[in-house]
Amino acid sequence: MDPVNRTDLAAAVVLVAFAAVGLAWVVPTQTSPPQMALDLPPAFVPNLALGVLLVLGVVLGLRAQWRLRNAKIQDHDIEFGAEASGFGRAELINTSLWFLVSALAMLAMPVLGFAITGGLMIIAAMLFAGQRNPWVVGLVGIIAPVLIDQLSWHALSIELPPLTLFTDP
């Protein structure tokens, strides 16, 4: 099965569902009626955008299904070239890993501060990407976030999230 067409089909299903939920529930419950007689309702543009997404999502899904049935291989994408190789198991794992790391970073940063959280993130990323020299990992992991933190304060007078773990609430 061509992974790109399979991805297109999956993307179409997800986006059609997203658009349908948006149109049926999100926009009607999260927008107000128009405040002026001559004005467009606030829901107009969101509904228009979701409507386009819904219709084109259906078209994309049908096209992908037809291509899968007729074993048509998609041309490479212009913007991403071979990078747009389809969204398979590996990509799903990568995406899940990223969202996990992001969630941990967002939980840690208000407590541990930018310098410590950033340092942990850099060290983890370097190890993940295959850097094994302990001096490089250690020095970059400490110096980079501290340098950014200090430059932000001394050059721009902006304090990045500080360590609050040991301060009173």
């Binding site: 606030p42 969101p46 930018f114």
Partner: protein, 495 residues
């Protein structure tokens, strides 16, 4: 005017002014390189610091920051496919393939020279044609803006590549995301779910840096792990001549440069449109009119020339409505108005009469800044090239941290950092699925502008949209929209 300009050069050519111009450009470039910062953040921080400077030095410094900040975003876009500013997204599209081919220096040179060209062009437009162009800018009202923005949507067709459906879907998603926040006309909430941080809408930096820059970094980190090439570097071409740009190679793109500079100047003159739109319009137009449109996206120097000339041309032209009418062209111009007022100068129709000497000194400083930009940028290219020697598994994690800091610093909000991280994940999914992130950003940029202009038109003209056909400017853009929608909507002929 020539005598005034010569007098301006006499006043401007002091060591102090030259030093401040150079300092401004260096600081601007650094801010442009750091993802999420850019010239607006730099200006916001630095305007108060110019209080104690003489007026000419202060404005020259800030103009240098603006010029450097606009072009600085191209450097990370080219080197690591992580644009420092949203307007450099199209530069990444052409510059990064050149980096992969071992020609990052060539790409950076093209970006620099094109930036300086665009800057110089718009500075000349400002100096020579400020007053008459300001009069033209006054003729643009909501109907005209609606037509221009509708025309800009046809960019999506040019930039969506082979899959127009996916491009339009990405743009539609961008438009939907742009509607989150307060309604632009009646300020009621839309899709905020009661979250106060969303009242201002999704932060453009969070979306653009996350979806464009950080998603690219993520993708590269995962590729590095998969391929086991972590210690690999971005290699320079064996033949150093491959990184040179011959004058004829640069000037062979003169039509594109001129077209983009005109587009950038036009967009800059009209308040509210912005640098990013100019960059995308310039790139889209270059692709449309190119003899080799299939080369765009593969490392085509013409694409870099188009984007950089257009986005830099906004800088000078932005000052036309600022100086002549006191109306800022964009946020950067608004900050410059603040700087003018700190020094006792009120921009507006009387500025040219009451402060002619100061104004022409500033014009002279702007022209000198272009030369300084060329020299400093050229020296800087060697320096930035050194980063190519750092292993990917060291430089990419550092960029992640810079993105986080870059989004936090202007907003002081971890919520926006969280949004950026989420958009990075979305951007990664879009990359792998072949959905255009550039179209997402275009939809996000154009959506609110289009909605506001359309609703203003309807309110002003009591729902009578025939005004769009009665205004010659609006009608012209509508015809262009229909033509380009037809031209790019039809199936491509197979070669």
């Amino acid at each position: 005017m020539i005598e005034n300009l010569i007098g301006g050069f006499e006043n401007a050519m002091t060591l102090t002014n030259i030093a401040f111009i150079c300092m401004g450009i260096v600081i601007g470039i650094i801010f442009g390189i750091l993802p999420g910062l850019g010239s607006v953040t730099a200006l916001a921080i630095l305007v108060p610091l110019t209080f104690y400077l003489p007026p000419v030095a202060a404005i020259a410094f800030l103009v240098g920051v603006n010029k450097g900040g606009t072009s600085g975003g191209a450097i990370p876009a080219i080197l690591i496919n992580a644009p420092g500013t949203p307007e450099a997204a199209a530069t990444a599209r052409e510059g990064y393939p050149l980096t992969k081919a071992g020609k990052p220096v060539k790409a950076m040179k093209m970006a620099l020279y094109s930036s300086v060209f665009g800057d110089l062009f718009s500075d000349c437009v400002l100096i020579l044609l400020a007053a008459p162009f300001a009069a033209i800018a006054l003729k643009f009202g909501p109907p005209e803006f609606t037509a221009i923005i509708l025309f800009s949507f046809t960019l999506i067709a040019a930039l969506a590549g082979r899959s127009l459906i996916k491009g339009i879907m990405a743009a539609a998603l961008g438009v939907f995301l742009s509607t989150i926040g307060l309604d632009p006309v009646d300020s009621t909430t839309r899709m905020t779910f009661g979250e106060v941080e969303l009242f201002d809408g999704i932060n453009l930096n969070a979306l653009a840096i996350g979806a464009l820059a950080l998603s690219s970094v993520l993708s590269q980190v995962f590729d590095v792990r998969r391929d086991g090439a972590g210690a690999g570097r971005y290699e320079l071409h064996e033949d150093s001549a491959a990184n040179r740009i011959a004058p004829h190679e640069f000037w062979s793109n003169w039509k594109t440069l001129l077209r983009s500079a005109v587009i950038g100047s036009g967009v800059g003159m009209l308040p509210g449109l912005g640098v990013s739109l100019a960059a995308f319009l310039g790139y889209g137009a270059a692709q449309r009119f190119s003899k080799t449109p299939e080369k765009f996206g593969t490392g085509h120097l013409e694409g870099i020339a188009a984007t950089e000339a257009a986005n830099s041309a906004v800088v000078g032209a932005n000052l036309i409505p600022t100086i002549t009418l006191g109306i800022p062209g964009n946020v950067a111009a608004a900050l410059l108005i603040g700087a003018f007022m700190i020094h006792g100068v009120v921009p507006g129709p009387f500025m040219m009469m009451e402060h002619a000497e100061l104004l022409y000194s500033i014009f002279a400083c702007m022209l000198m800044a272009n030369l300084a930009h060329m020299v400093i940028g050229r020296i800087g290219i060697r320096f930035w090239g050194m980063f190519m020697r750092v292993p990917k598994n060291v430089i990419l994690p550092i960029v992640v941290l810079l993105c986080i800091a870059g989004v936090y610093i202007p907003t002081n909000s971890l919520f926006h950092v969280g949004m950026m991280l989420a958009f990075a994940g979305l951007g990664y999914v879009m990359r792998k699925s072949g959905f255009s992130i550039v179209c997402l950003v275009i939809g996000f940029l154009l959506g609110p502008m289009f909605e506001l202009a359309l609703r203003q038109t309807m309110l002003m003209y009591k729902n009578d949209l025939s005004i769009m056909l009665e205004s010659p400017i609006a009608l012209g853009f509508l015809i262009l929209t229909a033509y380009f929608a037809w031209r790019f909507g039809r199936p491509e002929k197979k070669r």
